[in-house]
Amino acid sequence: MKKLIVLLLALALALPLAACGPSQDTTAVVRYGLSNAWDTLMPYNSPSGSNYTRIVCDKIYDRLAYVHADGSLDPRGAVSWESGDSGMSVVFHLDENAAFHDGTPVTAAHWADTIALMTNPDCPALGRSVFNVLAGTDESGAAIPGEALGAEAVDAYTLRLTFKTPTTPEDFLLDRNREFYVLPTHLLEDTDPAEVMDLALWEAPIGSGPCKFVEELPGSQLTLQANPDYQLGRPGFDLLVITVMDKSNLLPSLMAGDLDYYAFGGNLSAESAQTAREGGIEVLEGTVPNSFYELMLNNETIPSSALRRAIDLALDKQALCLHTAQGLGEPTATDLTPGTTYTSSLTWSRDVAEAEALLAEGGYDGRTYTLACTSNRSGLAALMQQQLGEAGINVTIATVDSATLFSGMAEGQYDMAIASHTPGALPLWFTESRFSAGNNIFHVSDLTPYATLISQIKAAADIGTRQALVDELQALLASERPFIPLWFGRTLHAQSPTVDNIDYPSSSFSNENVWDWTLRAD
């Protein structure tokens, strides 16, 4: 009886409204879900510097190239590129059909002026450090007065970028492409660099990307329309409506037909894959790693490399990967992304006896280490705690949010922490930013050996020399174990039931081929 009453009430409430149905409209709309908000539509002024901001700016602004998940490159703002000056510069030949949304053609001067403006020390650009590889800039990416800036318009459609160290086009694009955007500098000519970030232009931006800005409710919704004149083709929709919603609602919305796609690449956990399939959603298995799991270590509170290696040997990475990613991943001994140019012969294995011996060698006094993790990884942390316990290492778990975890590691509050990252194709994608004085998150007492090898790898001109140096760095990391690489994970992609030609895996590089997207006729 009670069930009947509840059902009748629900029907009475829902039927009349459902009967009205959605308003009929001939506009071709792609409804796009995002689990976190972008912070700004000015790509060089993002406090978070997050992939959520990048994936949104990717639609409005143009970049030099399109990066595929396997590291291969396709033309975008530039049609071709080549090395120059014995590897010290890269020359980009720009697409002459590219134009800003106000109709102004995109020229090399726009690119050079964008870089000049953002590296101007008077301009308060938060994302300036992306330029610190260019000649004439300091470590923060600010232009050094009196030095020639490494960004030059050779002619109307030829851009030359000059670097501090030899850099191949592939190295540069794989590392920095996602943060290099061309701005409409013709609209900024009379603006004081100090006031550029305050312009109303960034609240209704004009870019040269595949979509034009229509409307924004900050942190909640963004409406874009297809750019009919985009040089790679008009996207196959009229409007792209990006809505921020909870992660838990992304797949249900796709299954209910209220979303056409969600970033990044419709990522799906193995647990949800069955639900998706039962709901009529096709699931595609990713072919390249899109996540890298590591155990961050505090080298100050775990000062002995023998102890750190003991922790490494006590972990069963296969079991950890199986638990977290249902086996969709490869346990690893290094941070080198599998399938890329750079490889390592190092292997991992669990050896509890050896771990116990190393604990004795390192003088482990039975203290309890604090392992920090976010709530969604508490199960993984518990498994680690159990495995470490089997080797005699005592661990207590602190479940915290991301900000607390990273600040706690930076301040030396925790001994270990579980983190994951989006891997890159370059050999220094992980290490370069973590072994510097400004970001010594592992609290390594002497950064010199790492910094020396990292700078040598960056300066190495040919792949053979570089691979040898990479091997040397990986050997150093294996003997010192400042952090523990766990596994590289592959993802599953929930395929859109309504949009074709989506390059799902490449969204991990914060770019999406929306110009190829087409809405199915039915």
Binding site: G33, A37, P47, V214, M245, D246, N249, T404, S433
Partner: protein, 318 residues
């Protein structure tokens, strides 16, 4: 009464600033800041220091609070660290959707709870009483996030009747029908979440009133049972019921964090959630100001309404 209102407003001032100080300390002393959430830039160290300087996070805490307070007294809630927009503008954009969502949810709950609570009190152990108990149990016992997901699963995924998220289908207002379709599920969850307390409070207050001498007198005078319930018992129970209803006002203004977050509803609750998770202190403080003011004004309003609902309440000098 004018003097009473003035006195209450004056005493509210230190309470208000006390709340802001407490919240300011809580959010600023929580571990981490927005600079710890920066992306995997290749020069995070340099960016982090620059960002801290740009946002003024390198200044001592008392100076930051004094600065924020000074801006507040000039009517400026500051700029969001995350969105780089004035907080007042962000709040202005979010108040309307929150009012609509929580307002309609609570209004629906009131519309169901008052008659149901009265009926349950009037006829104990009747089907109405059992329905009231069942609804209260669901309201108290089932977490909001579960109601959200269960609602989405049933009405959106399985039946396909209602949309799963957002306020509009195409990102902007196209028709009232479209807005209502998007409102039904989240407002339904807010309604169910508020229902238990309202039903229980109404039922308990009516039951208590029914035991009073004036009810016996009313019956002795020959009034019908319906008249006794509506004109005497219900009126007599209004003070606690009004307290419960009006105590929802800050909730209505502040939005419902869980419901707005799951349904992607662009209200104050989701703004607060993002402010806390991004360590966006100005946003958290801005929303706190709005909620604190709402709480203080609601309390004052409650005191004034008591007088209208119950003639025995007088505003003395005490």
């Amino acid at each position: 009464m004018g003097r009473y209102i003035r006195r209450r407003l004056i005493t509210a001032v230190p309470v208000f600033f006390g709340i802001t100080l407490l919240v300011f300390l809580m959010v600023n002393l929580a571990p981490g800041s927005i600079t710890d959430l920066m992306g995997e830039g290749s020069a995070a160290g340099a960016d982090k220091a620059a960002l801290e300087a740009a946002l003024g996070l390198d200044r001592p805490l008392p100076l930051r609070y004094a600065g924020w307070l000074g801006d507040l007294l000039r009517g400026d809630l500051g700029e969001s660290y995350f969105y780089d927009r004035p907080v007042s503008r962000l709040i202005a954009q979010r108040v309307g959707p929150s009012l609509l969502l929580t307002g309609s949810g609570v209004a629906l709950a009131v519309a169901i709870a008052l008659p149901l609570g009265v009926l349950a009190a009037w006829k104990p152990r009747s089907p109405w009483d059992r329905l009231a108990s069942a609804l209260s149990l669901i309201s108290y016992g089932v977490p909001g996030f579960f109601l959200c997901l269960a609602g989405i699963d049933l009405f959106s995924v399985t039946l396909g009747w209602l949309p799963t998220h957002g306020m509009y289908t195409f990102g902007t207002f196209t028709s009232l029908t479209d807005l209502l379709r998007h409102l039904v599920l989240p407002a339904g969850v807010v309604c169910i979440s508020s229902l238990g307390e309202l039903v229980k409070q109404t039922r308990a207050a009516c039951l208590e009133a029914l035991g009073q001498d004036y009810i016996v007198t009313a019956r002795a005078k020959g009034l019908t049972e319906g008249g006794v319930m509506v004109r005497h018992a219900f009126r007599g129970s209004l003070v606690p019921v009004l307290t419960t209803i009006l105590s929802h006002i800050p909730h209505i203004l502040g939005g419902s964090v869980v419901v707005e977050q799951i349904f992607g509803w662009p209200g104050m609750g989701s703004l607060l959630f993002s402010g806390i998770s991004q360590r966006d202190y100005p946003v958290v403080m801005g929303v706190t100001v709005v909620i604190a003011l709402a709480v203080l004004l609601t309390n004052l309003l409650l005191d004034l309404v008591y007088g209208l609902a119950d003639p025995r309440v007088r505003y003395g000098k005490g």
